[in-house]
Structure formats: C-alpha cells, structure tokens
Symmetry: D2
Subunit: 144 residues, 4 copies
C-alpha cells in the first residue's frame, strides 16, 4: 500500500467530527483493512449500561468504509450504501475494537465484512458482525 | 395503548445516555410506533459534513427498539438482535426524524421497519430505511 | 408507464428459466411496482412442508428486480446487488404473492422494498419482507 | 460431533423436496459447518443465463441452517429468521459450492456466515456471502 493511501484515509477520518465526539481513533490502516478503537464511555450507553448498538455500528461502519477507501482511486470519497449488523454479545468492557476488511473491491461498489470485539479483562469477545456495501463517489459530486 | 406503556418507554429512553449525548429526543410513542428526532449538529458528521451513517442508525435503531417494546410485556427489556439499513440520500438539513414501527410482533422476536427523514427548508426527504429484529429479554437476565 | 416498459419486463421474465421451473408467473407490472405469484407445490418445500425460504426469496427478489427495471433506461439489465429478507410466518397455503416496489430509484442503484403474502382459505398473511439494492448494467457488459 | 448429529441433519435435508427439485446435495457435515453443492442447470437461471440469485440463496440458506442445527439440541428443528446476501460475481460455471458455518450459537438464535463459490475450469470464485439468523423450534410446535 502506498503511503499516500494511509494519509488519505487518516485525513478523511480526521474530518469525521462524529468520531472525535465519541472518542474513537483509527489505529491501523492496511491495504483493504482498517481498525478503529473506542474506549468505553458511560455517556454512550443504552438503557442497560452497554454501549449503544448504534455506537457499535458507527465504528464498524467507519472501519469498513475506510477499508474500502484504501482500494479506491485518489480523488474519490466513500459513502455507505447499505449495511447489516448482527449483535452477538453485549458491548461492555474496557474498549471496543472494530476491524473492517474488503471482501470484494469494485469500480463503483465495494463489499466489506467487519467485526467488533469487546476487550474486557485482557480477553476479546465478538460483539457484532457487519456486512456492508460501500460506494465510491467523486469528491466534487456526491449525488447519484 | 396504556399510559404505563408510554411511561415505560420514556423511562427506558431516559436511561440511554447515548441519546442524551447526541441530543436526540423521543417525540411520539404509540402502540407499535415510536418517533425520535435529532437536530443537526456539526459534531456528529462524517468527512463530507453530512450526519454520520452510524448516527442515522442510532436514532432509527432506538425508534424501532421502542416501537417493539410497546408490544412487549412489562418486566421485559428490548435489545437489537440485528438490523439492516439502506442509505438513500445525504443526512443534511435542520433535523432528522426517525419513525420506527412494528411489522410483526412476537413472544421472543419482533420485526420492525423504520424510516429516517431529513427536514430541510420545510420539506422532508427520505434518508434511510431500516429492517430490524428486536429481541425481548427479562429485565433480570440479559444473557441468552 | 409506457407499454414498451411492460413488454421489456415480461420479455426478460420469460427468459428466467428458474421462474418457469418453479411455476411462478408475473401478474402485474406498473411503474415502480411488480407482482409475482407462485402456486404452492409440494416439491418446493423445506423439512416441515412449508415452501423453502429460498423459494420465497426467489419470487420477491424477482418482483423487486423488475420493479427496479421499470425505472431504468432501455438497453439496461438489472442484477441483485444485495438483499435482506425477514421471515415472519410459515409459507403455506394455496399460493404466494410477492409484491416489489421501488423506494428510491437511481442511475446506478435502485433500492426496493418487497412483501410476500401467503393466500390461504381466502385470507392473506404476511410471510416475508425484503429490502434490496438492485444495480443496472448495460446489456452488453455485466462486469463491474 | 456425534454420529447422530450428522444423521439428524441428513434426514432433515432429505425431507427438503426443494433441494431435490433443484438437484442440490449435502456433501459435508461437521460440528458448526455444512457444505451444499449444486451442479449448474440451465433451467435455474435468470435472464442473462446465470444461476438465479434466489437459487444461490436457497443453497447457502440451507447450508447455514444445517450448520446451525448441528449446534442445537435433539428434538429441535431449524428455521430461517432472517438473512442478508451480497452478490459479488455472476453464478456461472460447472457447479456452486455453498459453505455455511456458525459464528455464534445460542439457545434460541444462532448466527451464521456463509459463502457460495462457483467452480469453473478448476478454479473457485466467490459468488455470494450470507449473514443469517437461524431460530430453533421444538419439532412439535413451530409457531412463535
């Protein structure tokens, strides 16, 4: 992977104010694979004190999206066309680790698979899986 | 719908710290249908300045979950088992309105459909749709 | 809707040998909406004697795909990019009726929603719902 | 895995008349993983001569369902609660191979992941991926 690709992903991530607001960081960028981490925060929970399913979705969506971007040409941006998430265990522990990777790159559509793990007492537990379709758009014209 | 059902939903919503953090409020509770609203905030965006897909997901997940809860017995809590979201238009404008409703109630699983609209200059535009499976759990034991 | 659109859809349907094999027919073509019907057949069941979930999927996939095609330009063909199905009731009765409709048309991607009903003793019961992304391709080049 | 589990899966598969109708066979049963194969047949295609997306879905649904059944107690049957499929390449070649496996077993719900490969000229190509929720039911009472 070219160094410019990692820079492009990190620059785009830094413009995602939502990631800063929840305290997520991008910890790994590889060709076709990106990792996002989120320390547990008690102001991001649902009614039982677990991290909200939508928050879990936010970080794995972002990991999958940027995994897709590493396979797209310069001068494109990436948008989520659709995704599906299955929730397997409560999102609790010290932090969440979201790993997204490209299953099938394409000129327009890129299909990704992602997993979110909860790190608790040194062990990792699978919390959620995502299957997503990402779409590439020219920076200068997002509309279809 | 009994008044106690609305109270149960609103009490549970008030325990969702994630909803308070993003500034969402619950504006309507009916039998099998719930509406959540989120004013636009520039600290919840993705790289192009639209509201983050995961934030859109958070509010429609919550609307669908509580729509399901209105059909569940007292002394249960609701969790998202899985959902799928299609993104149709950029999430921009003054505010988002997420409407979730029950398609099929069940003793264990409740299937819901939801839509998110962006309100901009007085008009509403469909931003995203969700199909979700919600699961009921006894308050006192969340594990499967 | 132009008459040529209905003809285009029906011509394409008639080339779907899979539809003939299971005995499905196209019973309605409107702008953005298509209906497919399938009489119950005991050679299309799963282990409990209900119509196989995959057979239910076949007809609603086809209904959604052709609903999308009614909104696409001539000289294009339609392919399923992805879909999600929720199964709500056993697929039993005299026949299944699958109704697909366009939620959001687009130049490349068209998002559809579909429902399958089982007709039994004169009543209709909702069996399954689909949310699908259909993609348009030039007739002469299917590859991405 | 106990021998009785493989027998239970194969007995149930043999009652799926839909699998016989399309010519699919079950070629491997392991603890938490099942393989189904389908030779290409020109009477199972869509309008471009590829195997119909719904047919692809039928075999991976069945593979995922029986993968789940290997992890369920005796005296239960398995039903598809919901699934999502992404289509990555045209389903063409000599035969399709569908491999389903359990990601997360559960007392009521079991989440599975599946892949369908097309075998063509000795090579395998990924055609589709599935993420599915399977539900266990007592043999004697399917209703929720």
């Amino acid at each position: 992977m070219e160094a410019s690709t990692e820079k492009r992903v990190k620059d785009s991530f830094s413009r995602q104010t939502a990631m800063k607001t929840i305290g997520a960081s991008i910890t790994r960028v590889e060709q076709g694979a990106v990792t996002i981490e989120l320390p547990f925060r008690s102001d991001l929970t649902q009614q039982n004190g677990f991290l909200h399913a939508g928050v879990v979705t936010m970080i794995i969506d972002t990991a999958c999206g940027y995994a897709a971007l590493t396979r797209m040409p310069d001068s494109t941006t990436v948008l989520s066309a659709e995704y599906k998430v299955n929730f397997l265990s409560p999102a609790e522990g010290e932090k969440l680790i979201a790993r997204g990777r490209v299953i099938k790159p394409g000129r327009t559509l890129t299909v990704c698979y992602g997993e979110v793990y909860a790190q608790k007492d040194g062990a990792e537990k699978l919390v959620a899986t995502m299957m997503a379709t990402m779409i590439s758009r020219k920076e200068t014209g997002l509309e279809d």
